[in-house]
Amino acid sequence: MLVQYLGIIGFYLVVLVLLYSLMRKLQEKFWLRFSAVMFPFLLVGHILFNVISFPAVNQARWRLRRLPSNDLIDLMDNSYSQRRTYWIYPLMEIYYAGRTLQIPENLLDSLPLSKEELQRKGRLAEVVPIEMIAELTEGEVELILAADYLDISIDDGYLYHFVMQETDLDSPLLLRRYEDQLFFIPKDLLPDTESGL
């Protein structure tokens, strides 16, 4: 690991030895010249380096950029760190706190989310397993995605959708799946319910 940095270390040591030799030779004059001339110029050079190198450094993976909104989901979506499953819980708390979540039994086993954590950290009123429901169809997904929603892709392999359209707050929330996408949808927004989409 150190070998590739040997050049820099060597150069650094040579500069240090040279400066120390100069210091020895010039004695007090060295510090006068260093402080009055060299140091301010070095600082100016340093600043120029910082300014010029900024665009190059900021192109890396972790760069600064303006977020599209002040929502937590956008902050998470613009993060390059590993996207953990537990990020879903605070989003549940922000979007659906106090609501009842219904999870089809056939989804419970394969779900990366914990039922208890959803209730506790997501601050849901209740998490209720319900009888099996088939996966959403492509047509249903198209209809759901016509509503207001936010989504985030997590490293557990799922794309999570949070459907947000104004609904009756007493209406329970339903978790549905379509392939590797999970949808949190207020039940009264589902296409097959009375109000429909």
Partner: protein, 486 residues
């Protein structure tokens, strides 16, 4: 907008508190540091409320601030510290309005950046607002401490997802603070105001144009906050001694508290600097007791509370390490108490800085002996991060060179706090890695992020050493000589 108003209220609150000291400290400094004290009072108030099972709600926090404000108001009325000169009003209003503008811009242009760690702190903050100090929250606080999470908890009260304006505003405060305190310190060494201003400003621009510092101005984490509080503490301790103005000590101790609450391992670093202050022996014994004992007591109680609630603890802070921190706090507390004894004053205190560094070096040698590969990898990773992968640009490369040169440079007044402080800091960074996985080469590595805490102090130290030898400079010694001659 809620967030802008909330943080500005904290700022105003901090300024009102600072004005209690306006007869002894400059109004500009009070205007600059308002946000430091406002946020610190929020965090400390929240910690006390939650640890004592008082309600932690917007209502209870507003009541807490109203009660404190009434207290400050009474003191202001008694001491007549409300009366401000036109010049003071102008300064305070200019800085406050710039602060408000920065807050507004930060809310309008959100450049926040996060890592997994940041998300955990944001989420912990939100959960604190609902759950208080539940067992799960205590576990999180044992890893990352309370400051940032408690600040983030306000997002629930404000109806926002997270606090996104605080980090840029901390950075803005830091820019002002570095330049102001740097100027104050350098002008104690040389009398040429223009030169002082130029060199301080250039050093400040170097620091705040370094990519990693710019990045951390938007990166929601505790390192930039820690760096600012530590820089403020060390600078104020130095000014307290050089100006023989005890009031700097109060602000210095508050800054040290802010630093200590930002990260779990921070008290160990803070105690090193505190021991250096005690060793200098310049602070009157009564002030030592009044300023240091409450700080040590508060931290001791906080860590005892964590110890009582943490169970098995975490990898970062388990009961053994917590006990070690409490032990160190008690040891420094005892040192404060006995620091007036004659033999302590004569024999122990003058040698304390050297003794501390020697003990740290022996400890480091022992740790290297115990886990040679572990420490070697950490040293290499830290060096490589400083040189290339830590996103520091050439800043550490240049300043480590200046630091090496400075060793042979002219001595500055009370150099010990900087020299021994910096050396001890690096020793401790390497020592604490013994208890965790080795540092690695990446900007996000905690060892690399902790370098942020010491960089501003290192830059200031180099600046002081450099100006000490400027031609025709009037340094403190010559000022003293001339006053003696007069």
């Amino acid at each position: 907008m809620n967030q802008v108003l909330f943080l500005f209220s904290l700022y105003v609150y901090g300024v009102v508190f600072g004005l209690l000291f306006k007869r002894h400290l400059p109004a500009v400094l009070i205007a600059i540091t308002g946000f430091l004290w406002g946020t610190l009072f929020w965090v400390v108030g929240g910690m006390i409320a939650l640890a004592t099972s008082l309600p932690y709600t917007p209502g209870s926090m507003i009541s807490y601030f109203i009660v404190l404000m009434i207290g400050f108001g009474i003191i202001h009325a008694r001491n007549n510290t409300w009366a401000l000169s036109r010049r003071e009003i102008t300064w305070i209003l200019s800085i406050a309005s710039t602060f408000l503008l920065v807050l507004f811009l930060a809310s309008r242009y959100n450049f926040s950046a996060v890592s997994s760690d940041s998300i955990i702190q944001i989420v912990t903050g939100r959960r604190i607002a609902y759950e208080g100090f539940s067992t799960a929250i205590i576990e999180e606080l044992s890893k990352r401490d309370a400051f940032l999470s408690l600040l983030q908890s306000a997002s629930v009260f404000l109806g926002d997802d997270y606090i996104y304006t605080a980090q840029p505003v901390f950075a803005f405060t830091f820019v002002l603070l570095f330049n102001y305190l740097g100027y104050q310190i350098v002008s104690q060494i040389i009398s040429n105001k223009r030169l002082t201003l130029t060199l301080t400003a250039l050093s400040g621009i170097v620091l705040f144009s370094t990519y990693f510092i710019i990045y951390q101005s938007f990166y929601i984490h505790n390192n930039l906050i820690s760096a600012m509080y530590l820089f403020a503490a060390v600078s104020m301790f130095w000014l307290a001694r050089i100006e023989s103005n005890d009031h700097w000590m109060i602000f210095g101790m508050l800054s040290l508290l802010g630093f200590s609450l930002a990260r779990t391992e921070a008290p160990i670093f803070a105690l090193i600097f505190l021991a250096l202050v005690i060793s200098a022996g310049h602070i009157p014994y009564r002030l030592r007791l009044v300023s240091m004992i409450p700080y040590l007591l508060f931290l001791g109680l906080w860590y005892s509370y964590l110890l009582a609630r943490m169970g098995e603890g975490t990898k970062i802070l388990d009961p053994e390490k917590t006990l070690a921190i409490i032990g160190a706090l008690i040891a420094i507390g005892l040192l404060v108490l006995v620091s007036e004894l004659n033999w302590i004053k004569r024999f122990l205190l003058p040698q304390l800085p050297k003794l501390m560094v020697v003990i740290l070096l022996i400890m480091l040698a022992f740790l290297i002996y115990q886990k040679p590969e572990h420490i070697k990898d950490s040293i290499l990773a830290t060096l490589i991060n400083m040189m290339s992968s830590g996103r520091w640009g050439i800043t550490w490369l240049m300043f480590s060179l200046y630091l090496a040169l400075s060793l042979a440079g002219p001595k500055v007044p009370w150099e010990e706090i900087f020299f021994y402080g910096i050396v001890s800091f690096f020793c401790l960074i390497l020592a604490i890695v013994f208890f965790r996985k080795p540092y690695h080469t990446a900007w996000g590595d905690s060892g690399n992020r902790m370098l942020t805490h010491i960089l501003p102090i290192s830059i200031l130290y180099v600046l002081m050493k450099t100006v000490q030898s400027l031609p025709k400079s009037t340094n403190i010694e010559s000022k003293r000589d001339s006053s003696r001659n007069l």
